[in-house]
């Protein structure tokens, strides 16, 4: 800005460009160097889980081979064991059934609530939104003992339906807020146009929901799915019958016999569900971030 009055000589400007490029490259290298330890620390257990899942048992306990690579040929034995000798198939189907039911309940309850919080402008809506959200902040650890009594009274102990009933308590608050953030980004004109067209409130609401439906619904389903996968306590307390367990509980309880851990199968079973969940999650990370911030900014 100091050079406004004078015309810079061409060579000088060229060197300035080079200089800027050099700075850019240096900055990138610094950023990569800063990120490297984080990537290593984050990835190390995951890579090692993957290697474990494909290792032969003798190779696993051989202190001379690297835990990060194969001493003898990799094997699919641990995966075969899961499906042949454990109830892994049931666990996967339970997990899917639970996730689908929880998603449906969350959407059925969360879409109207999110819309009401974002758009209807109710007096006291803010407080009700906070009351719903409060449910998310009362952790399972305060509730599992009384809930075990309640689940018992409902005769749902040792069934996956106990978890279908309980998991929405953490997906509903989370997804209601996420959805209300999405709804706030839809221009009001769409709704007003619908009302001018003589549509009822319900139709106007549907018109607001449609533009965000895919992003909102998919994000809700992904989070319903991942949040249910994160639970351990409720599953541990309510379900002890093998064929009713979801994957995380089944892996953590049935692949450990006394002091013997079936490490290969444990990691195989864990990765088979963990990796798809992690990939979906990172694909939707942008939605997640914009969901948080759109609720924050508007």
């Amino acid at each position: 800005m100091s050079g406004v009055g004078t015309l810079p000589h061409p060579p000088a400007s060229l060197s300035r460009v080079r200089h800027a490029e050099g700075r850019q490259v240096r900055k990138r290298i610094l950023v990569y160097l800063g990120l490297l330890p984080f990537v290593i620390v984050a990835m190390f257990p995951v890579i090692w889980m993957a290697v474990t899942a494909f290792k032969q048992d003798a190779d696993l306990v051989n202190p001379r081979t690297s835990p990060f690579w194969f001493g003898v040929a990799p094997t699919l034995h641990h995966f075969a064991y899961l499906f042949q000798n454990t109830q892994y198939g049931y666990w996967v189907s339970n997990t899917v059934v639970i996730a689908v039911c929880v998603s449906l309940i969350t959407l059925a309850v969360g879409i109207p609530a999110g819309y009401a919080l974002a758009r209807v402008g109710l007096p006291g809506a803010e407080n009700m939104g906070i009351a719903i959200f409060l449910g998310y902040l009362i952790p399972s650890i305060l509730l599992f003992i009384p809930l075990s009594r309640i689940i018992g009274m409902l005769h749902l102990i040792d069934t996956k339906w106990a978890l279908v009933l309980v998991y929405p308590t953490f997906t509903i608050p989370f997804c209601t807020w996420l959805l209300s953030g999405f709804f706030k980004t839809v221009p009001r004109e769409i709704e007003e146009a619908a009302q001018v067209d003589g549509c009822g409130r319900l139709a106007a609401m549907v018109r607001t929901i449609i533009p965000v439906s895919w992003a909102g619904i998919l994000t809700t389903v992904i989070f319903a799915f991942t949040l249910t996968m994160q639970d351990f306590l409720y599953a541990l307390v309510f379900v002890s019958v093998g064929d009713q367990k979801p994957v995380p509980l089944g892996v953590a309880t049935d692949l450990i016999r006394g002091d013997v851990y079936f490490w290969g199968s444990l990691m195989a079973g864990a990765l088979l569900v963990g990796v798809p969940v992690a990939i979906l999650y990172s694909l939707f990370l942008d939605q997640f971030i914009s969901g948080i911030t759109s609720a924050a900014v508007k």
């Binding site: 990120l35 995951v46 990060f68 309940i105 609530a113 819309y115 541990l236 969940v277 924050a296």
Partner: protein
Amino acid sequence: MANVEVAVRGRISVRRGHFTRDRLTFGYSLLAPAVIYMALMVGVPFFFSLYLSLSNATVGNQVARFVGFQNFGAVFQDPTVRQALRNTVVFTVIAGICKGVLGGMLGFLLTQDVPGRRLIRSLVVLPWTLPVVITALAWKWAFDPQFSTINWAARHLHLMSGWPNWLGEPGLAMAAIIAVNVWRGFPFGAIVLMAGLSAVPVELFDAAKVDGANFLQRWRSVIVPMIAPILFVGLLFDTVFTLSDLSIVYLMTMGGPMNSTEILPTRAFEIGIQAGALGRGAAISLILFPLLLPVVYFLLRTLRRRETL
């Protein structure tokens, strides 16, 4: 002019008045399912828990008798519970500080515009996205007394000569538990920071730049005040989850060795479910409530002010 305005306003307010009633019914009926679900599945159990903690309910016994504060008295007499309370506080505070620092650094690096940023980001958030049970088990084996990968790697890199039994020694076990919690939680801190930074309008940055603010000044006067509330919310969230997380300790050490990693959630589980003393177990988990209360209070206050998630 004034008359026209009054007339127009009058008509609008009449129309609003007309709208209001069915708007209210409409709005509340949309909210009702969510509120009722949460009230039945969270509110009712919470008060039921208060009731249980004042009774001598056990798993086998259907009729519970009111015993006043007897359970709380007994619980505070129990040295294991007192140790669990201490451990819970130490665990939450140390892990929270580490997650804040590491997550903040990572979040800042991830907002820098370098090629491959998205790929790096999805790799770095893996600890947070993988189910906690799975990673806790993976770490249990990483700390295995015989086949510890960590010891193997540290020895081959000549960082360490011994072969520590991580989960078998009190101090080391606590450090291991905290490390796993931090490993799992730091990406969340980064995500929250990224969300905070992306909420800062670009114009504000540019304006500050044009005004000649250097990096530190921009950071202090533009970025920090804008993102501090979001970071604060993130920290509070994380505290709620860390205070109440049982799975890492349960799967890795079961509270051992010699109760050195026992935390309130695991103790409540042992007494309330494994030993079947519902009343006493409820009392132990309710000790967490006064710890949670200030956190939840600040969180809700921030939410109300900023409507942040």
